[in-house]
Symmetry: C2
Subunit: 427 residues, 2 copies
Amino acid sequence: MEEIYIIRGNIIFTKTFGKFEVFENGYIVVEGKYIKGVYKDLPKNFGKVPIIDYGNSLIIPGFVDLHLHASQYGNIGLGIDKELMPWLQEYTFPEEAKYDDINYAKKVYSALIKDLWRFGTTRACVFATIHKESTKLLMDLFAQSGLSAYVGKVNMNRNSPEYLVEDTENSIYDTEQILQEYSTKYELVKPIITPRFVPSCSMELLKGLGNLAKKYNTPIQSHLCENYDEVSFVKKLHPEFKNYARVYEGAGLFGDLPTIMAHCILVDEDEIELMKRKNVFVAHSPHSNCNLSSGIAPVRRFIEKGIAVGLGSDISAGHSLSIANVIVSSGQVANLKWLESSKVDKPFNTAELFYMATKGGGKFFGKVGSFEEGYEFDALVIDDNSLPIFKPLSIEERLQKFIYTGDDRNIKERYVAGKKVKEPECY
Amino acid sequence: MEEIYIIRGNIIFTKTFGKFEVFENGYIVVEGKYIKGVYKDLPKNFGKVPIIDYGNSLIIPGFVDLHLHASQYGNIGLGIDKELMPWLQEYTFPEEAKYDDINYAKKVYSALIKDLWRFGTTRACVFATIHKESTKLLMDLFAQSGLSAYVGKVNMNRNSPEYLVEDTENSIYDTEQILQEYSTKYELVKPIITPRFVPSCSMELLKGLGNLAKKYNTPIQSHLCENYDEVSFVKKLHPEFKNYARVYEGAGLFGDLPTIMAHCILVDEDEIELMKRKNVFVAHSPHSNCNLSSGIAPVRRFIEKGIAVGLGSDISAGHSLSIANVIVSSGQVANLKWLESSKVDKPFNTAELFYMATKGGGKFFGKVGSFEEGYEFDALVIDDNSLPIFKPLSIEERLQKFIYTGDDRNIKERYVAGKKVKEPECY
C-alpha cells in the first residue's frame, strides 16, 4: 500500500497553456508519487486521510529548469560583461577543467543542488563536464537530495582547449559506462546524452552518441543556433547539411529520442518544421541570451507551431538559478520581440509564462508540472506574508506578486514525486 | 566641530565612467557629512580617529534611484502582463486615487521607504500623487528615515480619469504651498516640480510650473518619449512644437533648472541635442521599458554625447526596487540594443553600469555617488560570505558577484551623508 495524504491550501496551476486553474482553499490528494485528484471540496471517501494544512499559503507546481551547466556554478555572476569567446576562454573552460578533481566537484555540485532546492527547482536537465567520475558523483548527489534530474556527461572532441578535448573512442566509452551503470540506478535521476554542441563534436562522435541513445533508450540534450558566429561556424564545418539542426538529425540526435535543444534563437523555417515533426523541446534561456548578446528566441512562433517550450536558467551564462526570475525575463524579452517583430509575435501573459516554467518543461519528465490526476506530485508551498500586499488579491495576483517580487524566502516547502524534500547537505 | 571617523574595508567605486577605483583593505575618512579622503594606507595625522572596521566586507557607494512612483508601490508585481493603457486604467490610476487618504499613504509610503532602505537605495527621485497632504507626509517620512529624496507632488489637469484631474489653479497653488513649506525644511529631502507628462498637463499648467521652478529654484522631473502612442499623442496635442522635449522647453521645464526625464526611448536628434545643451538627466528604467513593451533607450548614444544618465527602478512599471537588479537589466538591454543597432551602440561593462547606478544619478544630488574628497558619504557595507564563491576573487569580481547573485541580505549597513541609517519604521 502506498502512503496517501492530502495537501490543503490555495492551489494554482496551468493545465492548459495560458489558463490558470485555481482551487482556493482546495485539496490535493496524493498517493505514493502521484496525484489522485484536486478538489474544491474534499470527497467523503477521503475523510480519514491525513491532511497537511498549509492555511493561506499558495500551492504551486515545482519549477522545471530545462537547461543549466552545473559545472559553471562556481562562475555564476562573473564575467557576464565579456563577449562569448573571451567568456568561454577566461571563465568557462578553465572552470570546467577543474572537474577532473572529484573533491572540487563535490563541493560545488552539492552547493548547486542546495541552491536549486532553495529556489524551488524540483526538476532539472543538467550539463556536467567531460569527466566521468564527477558526472557520476553529480547524479549520486542529486539522488541523495531527493530532487529529480537528467544529468549529462558532456562530450567534446574538437575546437576546444586541449585540456577539454576527448579522444573520440574514450568519449563514447565513458558515456556508455555511465549509461550502463546509471540508466536504471535511480528513479528520479537519469543520464542524458549531452554532446556540447556541433562545433565541439565531430560527426563520428555525434553518430556514436546517436547509437548510444538508441541502444539505451536515452534522451538527448544540446545547444542549437545560439549566436551568429556559432551558426556560421557550423555551416562551414558541415556544408553537407542544410542547416545546424540537420547535423544533429544526421547523427540520430534530433528527436529520435526525446530531445532538448537550448536557445534556438536563429533557427530557420526548415529547422522549426523539423523541431515540430520530431517533437524537440526548446529550453528558452532569456537571461543567458541577454547576458551573452545572443538575441531573443522566437518563442511565440514555437508555441504557435505546437513546439514544446520550457525555461532554462542556463547558469552561468544566465546569472540566476531562480526560475521565477527566468519567468520575468521571458516576459520581458517577449515584449521586446513583439516590438522587433513589428507586433506580430504577441507577448506572453503570466499564465502562459507559468505554464512554460512548470508543465511546459515538466513534460520532458513525463506527467510532471501540473496538478492533474496521474501526475507526479511536485509542489512548492509559497508563503507570501512578507510581500508588499495592501489590499485583498486574487490567487492569480498573489502568484504574480510572488513571481515578480518574491524570492527563495517565500518558499516554505518543496515536494518531488510525492515526497517532501529537506534542505540538501552541502560539502 | 564635526564628528570625524574612519571606515575600513574593501573600498570600490567609480570616479570616472567605466573605471573602478579599488582600495583593498583601505580607509575612508569621513568628517560630518563629507569624505575627507580615501587611502590605501592611513596617513599618520588620523592616528587618533576612531575606526569602524568592516573587515573583509565591500564598501560601495549607496545606490541612486532616479525615477520611481512611490504611490504605485502597492501594485508592485501586479498587472505587468497588461499593456500600458489597461495597466494604467485597471491598476495605476485607481491605486493613485487612494492617496487622498492620508492613513493609506502612511501605511504604503512607510513600507516603501523601508524597502528602499533594505535594497540599499540611499537617494531617490520620487513621484507621489496629485494629493498635497500625502505628498508632504512622504517628505516627512523620508526625512525621519534618514534617506535622501526629491519628492514631487504630481500635476495633472487633462486626459486622465476624472478622479485624478486637478483644477489648473489649484494644482499650481498646492504645488507652491509645498515649495514654500518644504524647500528649506529638510537638508536631505527636497521638493521637485513633477508634471506627470505632457499628455496630462495643459500648456497653462506646464507654464505655471515652469514659473514656480524659477521662482523657488526647484528642480524638475517628468517623463519623455516612453512609447509610440504617447509620442504621437503629444504631436497631436502640440503641433506648434517641433517635438515632445520642445513642449517642456517652451514651458521652462527642460533644463532651465536641473531636470530629470525618465525613459527617453524615442527621442529624435533635436531632442538629444537639446538634452545635451540643457544638461538634462536621463533616468534609464529598463525593467519598466521591458515590462511595458516600450523598447530600449539609446543609452550608449546619450553617454557618447555627454548626457548624464542615472538608473531608475520605475516601480511599479518596474517590478524591482533593487538598483543592483536594475544594473543587471541595463546590461542586458544594452546587449540587445547592440544587436538592434547592427553592433553600433556598444554594450556596457560592469564598471560603466555601476557608475550609472551611483555617481551617474548621484550628480543630480550634488557631490554624491562616489568616494572622492568633498563628496557626501553615502555607502553600503556588503557582506558576500553567503554567496557561491569557490576561489579567490578580485574586489571587482566580488562586486560583480554581489550585483548579479546577491540581494538585500548581503547589505549589512547603509550610510547617508555621513550618518548610519537604521531600519525605518513601518506603520
